[in-house]
């Protein structure tokens, strides 16, 4: 017990996190903390371990050692769907949606009710579900495409749909892996607007390469390099860090 020091309550506390794939340490002794309502952006060169960090938090990859605490709960020992239930949502790099289902059905599946087998069998599409789906569809610019099959959407629309699927899930920690990659300029602007709207009242962890976008939204930036933290702080501080300039921003 620490005396005379009240430990701060972090939403997410990653400590000494290490994962090794056949001896290669993709993430090496990594520690960082995310506050409530903080927007944290992780940047870094290719292969720095950014996506692996998200994989570790959401349970897709199991940590070799270290701990990930979310609201005081240890995530490293939980299964993926249990992690989702504690309030962690994850968007993948490539839009991960259900092509054979309609936009409505995609959103409906993400609605946080009836997640057990019998819950799903007896799930009814009531007014609450319909209203919420319509509300989210409007936010993600897909209001008039609700009954279209998702595989007919454009790449940008698919990204929005996946963001919408997370939104309807209403997580406390939202993790986005390159949300604007592969988007046109106008789609990118719309996405920034969308993200700015949905990041209220929750913490967000974003991986992004688009520096202008990062500057727009980040409260704090973490720079990863070879599985370790190279620098951390405000965008201003990170940008002027000579180590960061050398390995990442310099070119």
């Amino acid at each position: 017990m620490l005396v005379g020091h009240q430990p701060k309550e972090f939403l997410l506390a990653v400590e000494a996190l290490t994962v090794s794939f056949d001896g290669f340490k993709a993430v090496n002794d990594l520690s960082f903390y995310v506050d409530e309502n903080e927007i944290r952006v992780i940047i870094g060169p290719n292969g720095a371990g950014k996506t692996t960090v998200l994989d570790l938090i959401c349970g897709k990859t199991k940590a070799t050692s270290g701990s990930i605490q979310f609201r005081g709960k240890e995530l490293t020992r939980m299964r993926e769907n249990e992690i989702v239930k504690t309030g962690v949502g994850r968007k993948f790099q490539n839009p991960s949606i259900y092509d054979d289902l309609t936009v409505f059905e995609n959103l409906e599946i993400s609605y946080p009710r009836g997640r057990s087998v019998f819950g799903a069998l007896t799930f009814t599409r009531d007014a609450a579900v319909r209203d919420r789906v319509h509300e989210v569809a409007e936010m993600i610019f897909l209001k008039d495409r609700l009954h279209m099959n998702a595989d007919l959407l454009s790449h940008g629309q698919k990204q929005w749909l996946e963001i919408g699927m997370l939104l309807i899930q209403d997580p406390d920690l939202l993790m986005l892996d390159e949300p604007v990659a592969g988007m046109s300029v106008s789609e990118r602007a719309k996405t920034a607007e969308l993200l700015n709207r949905i990041i209220k009242n929750r913490s967000v962890l974003v991986i992004e390469h688009d520096m202008k976008f990062v500057e727009d939204i980040a409260h704090k930036v973490t720079v990863l390099h070879q599985g370790q933290i190279l620098s951390e702080g405000t965008m201003e501080k990170v940008k002027n860090d000579p180590k960061v300039v050398e390995v990442y921003l310099g070119h």
């Binding site: 959401c58 897709k60 299964r79 993926e80 769907n81 989702v84 239930k85 949502g89 994850r90 993948f92 991960s96 949606i97 259900y98 092509d99 054979d100 289902l101 059905e105 995609n106 409906e108 599946i109 993400s110 946080p112 009836g114 997640r115 057990s116 087998v117 799903a120 069998l121 007896t122 799930f123 599409r125 009954h147 699927m165 899930q169």
Partner: protein
């Protein structure tokens, strides 16, 4: 999008057409021998129906459905065999009152696991529960460890092979390679004469429709959509808060229970059960029925089963050596050319024409009667 939890309008028409076909057309046009053949084919339709849920919707290919067909069939056959082995019927045996094959194998008392099968209630429960629990055990062992795809298919094949070997090897308890033959009565009611065959046929069709309704309910529930979602993007489903393993176990168990009901119907309608319906070859044949009918179509699978079996009966009478090659060729052709089977052909080519025909007829003032849909092709 309708709120009906079982079917929409076009599915209702399809189900009614199938009902008319099975309940009216076939019994009126076929003699008892042929009708009993249809009853035999329809027992496989239960398996195909389960495969639509498990393989078509859930993407879980099981090449061991014969296991569950067999378990259901053997449960039913054990009850019937015990009834046929009354002391009176078996008084020439050295131990009267036990099934004949036990007597031939020098077994002198009814084994403990046979005793509960004296009760019909227990038997009916066992037909559903034994395969259900077995599927749950296999499913839990595999899906919780994330074994899927080809590996799962191979393991189900191995289970089918093991069960066949077990049944053949334990001749004294199972009847061995000959299976359980000479089944006679159900609660004193003779199942062998023609009128019994007809009653059993209608009973089977009734059970089939109950299973179709269950399948429709699953398909139209959110669970049905989760199965489709899982088939495509397993990870996304997991990260939407669902336990993918539990949903796969459910789909596999439903398919197993349907197959088991089919097996029990087989024992009743055909009057025997043998390991030749348990192993790898019959299991793969059952997958072919589903593929030919259309693995995404509940009704298609039933027509597919009937069609392949009709072809099998008529072709194997004329060209016994060629039939298996024909079956293999059919499977390859369906996979390559018509991945959605008969139902796919129907939906892509026939249905649009009928719709156009109806549309053009409707614009004319004269009365029009529904005659174009009742040709027995898959309506979905």
């Amino acid at each position: 999008m309708t709120d009906n939890r079982f079917f929409n309008r076009s599915e209702l028409i399809g189900i009614l057409v199938l009902a008319v076909f099975l309940v009216v057309v076939l019994p009126l046009t076929l003699d008892v021998f042929r009708l009993n053949l249809v009853a035999k084919y329809l027992t496989y339709a239960f398996v195909a129906l389960g495969l639509v849920i498990c393989w078509g919707y859930g993407g879980i290919l099981s090449l061991g459905q014969g296991v569950f067909f067999g378990l259901g069939g053997y449960c039913m056959a054990m009850f019937l065999k015990l009834e046929a082995s009354s002391v009176e019927n078996t008084k020439i045996q050295s131990t009267p009152g036990i099934p004949d094959f036990m007597d031939w194998n020098q077994i002198t008392a009814l084994p403990f696991f046979w005793k509960p099968f004296n009760s019909l209630t227990f038997t009916i429960a066992a037909i559903i529960l034994v395969p259900g629990i077995f599927a749950w055990i296999i499913g839990t062992a595999m899906f919780k460890r994330r074994v899927g795809g080809t590996y799962f298919a191979i393991i189900t094949q191995a289970v089918a092979a093991i069960l066949t070997i077990l049944i053949v090897g334990q001749q004294g308890y199972t009847g061995g390679i000959n299976g359980m033959t000479d089944l006679r009565t159900l609660k004193g009611w003779d199942i062998r004469p023609d009128h019994a065959k007809i009653v059993l046929y209608f009973f089977e069709v009734g059970c089939l429709f109950v299973c179709i309704m269950i399948a429709q309910f699953v398909r139209h529930s959110k669970l049905g959509r989760i199965l489709v979602a899982m088939r495509e993007k397993e990870d996304r489903v997991r990260f939407s808060g669902y336990s993918v393993a539990n949903f796969k176990i459910f789909a596999f168990c439903i398919a197993a229970m349907f197959a088991a009901i089919g097996g029990a119907m087989f024992a009743l309608n055909v009057g025997f059960m043998s390991p030749s319906f348990v192993g790898i070859v019959p299991s793969i044949e059952m997958v072919i029925y589903t593929a030919v009918g259309g693995r995404l179509s509940i009704l298609g699978a039933i027509y597919g089963t009937l069609l392949v079996n009709f072809a099998k009966t008529s072709l194997s009478e004329t060209f016994p050596e060629l039939w298996l090659f024909g079956l293999g060729g059919l499977f390859i052709a369906v996979v390559l050319a018509f991945p959605n089977g008969l139902a796919g052909i129907w939906g892509d080519y026939v249905q649009p024409r009928i719709d156009r025909l109806i549309a053009s007829r409707k614009s004319k003032p004269d009365g029009w009667t529904d005659s174009s849909v009742a040709d027995g092709a898959p309506a979905e």
